[in-house]
Symmetry: C2
Subunit: 133 residues, 2 copies
DNA sequence: CGGTATCCGAAGCGATACTG
DNA sequence: CAGTATCGCTTCGGATACCG
């Protein structure tokens, strides 16, 4: 809507793509599909905790952006397979790099988090709205 | 709250970190801070469209996770500077890689998106009745 | 200058029920 | 099997007003 033609326009675009992978399930699904094609129910079972609705929504978003290809086999019963496109595999690389970094450094992050939360209740009263997990 | 000890625990953790960078403003701010420390208002002006509230919230989250360090100079008027920590700079690398990929390939993504949206009502029998406006 | 507090609409997401 | 439709709760995020 309010797109000024600033030199950062491409950053806004980039952020859109990154926002996609920032949601709750996309990374899980993309990483699963790097291992090969999967059927709807296979993904549902592999990605623990995902609801049918969110699986559909997430897969549609990935399909729309060209990361995932959906193939329907009109057998009985129905059979639908999802696999990464070339674009999907390419994006999976930097995504995996970020994921690996996150896995490798989670302790440092959670240490910092505990430290921050620990001294938060003493001097200031800013928390109470950030206690999520 | 309900963290099951599944073998995918580390994926869940990784996803938490990735979720942080997936929000609307984090990437912009982190990338800005890779260029050096910035004052609150400097960030506000550099990251176009961000509200005061979201700037505060995002910076707090980054500080909590140990990516950003906040330094207060009790001068008059007040002066607060934000800079990346070592952890922040380390994370910025894979993050930049993902961002660069997104910038380099945005056209492919938006092409796919237009293609998907274009044929949404034509060939597929899935919708057929949902195109009501 | 650098925040915090509150209100509120929008979006995310799960639960449930129904369909081809 | 592989979805779609609807509901309702929760979180996100902008607008506004106030504070040390």
């Amino acid at each position: 809507m309010e797109q000024r033609d600033r030199p950062m326009g491409h950053c806004t675009r980039a952020n859109e793509v990154i926002s996609l992978v920032g949601d709750k399930w996309t990374v899980h699904i993309v990483m699963l599909l790097t291992q090969g094609k999967r059927r709807f129910t296979e993904i549902e079972r592999a990605v623990d905790g995902i609801s049918r609705k969110m699986l559909t929504v997430t897969l549609r978003a990935l399909e729309r952006d060209g990361f995932v290809e959906r193939t329907v086999y009109p057998t009985v019963p129905l059979r639908v397979e999802y696999c990464l496109t070339d674009l999907g595999f390419e994006m999976a690389e930097p995504l995996r790099a970020l994921g690996n970094w996150a896995i490798a450094n989670q302790e440092r992050v959670f240490d910092a988090r505990r430290r921050f939360d620990g001294q938060a209740g003493e001097t200031m009263a800013i928390n109470a709205h950030k206690e999520r997990r």
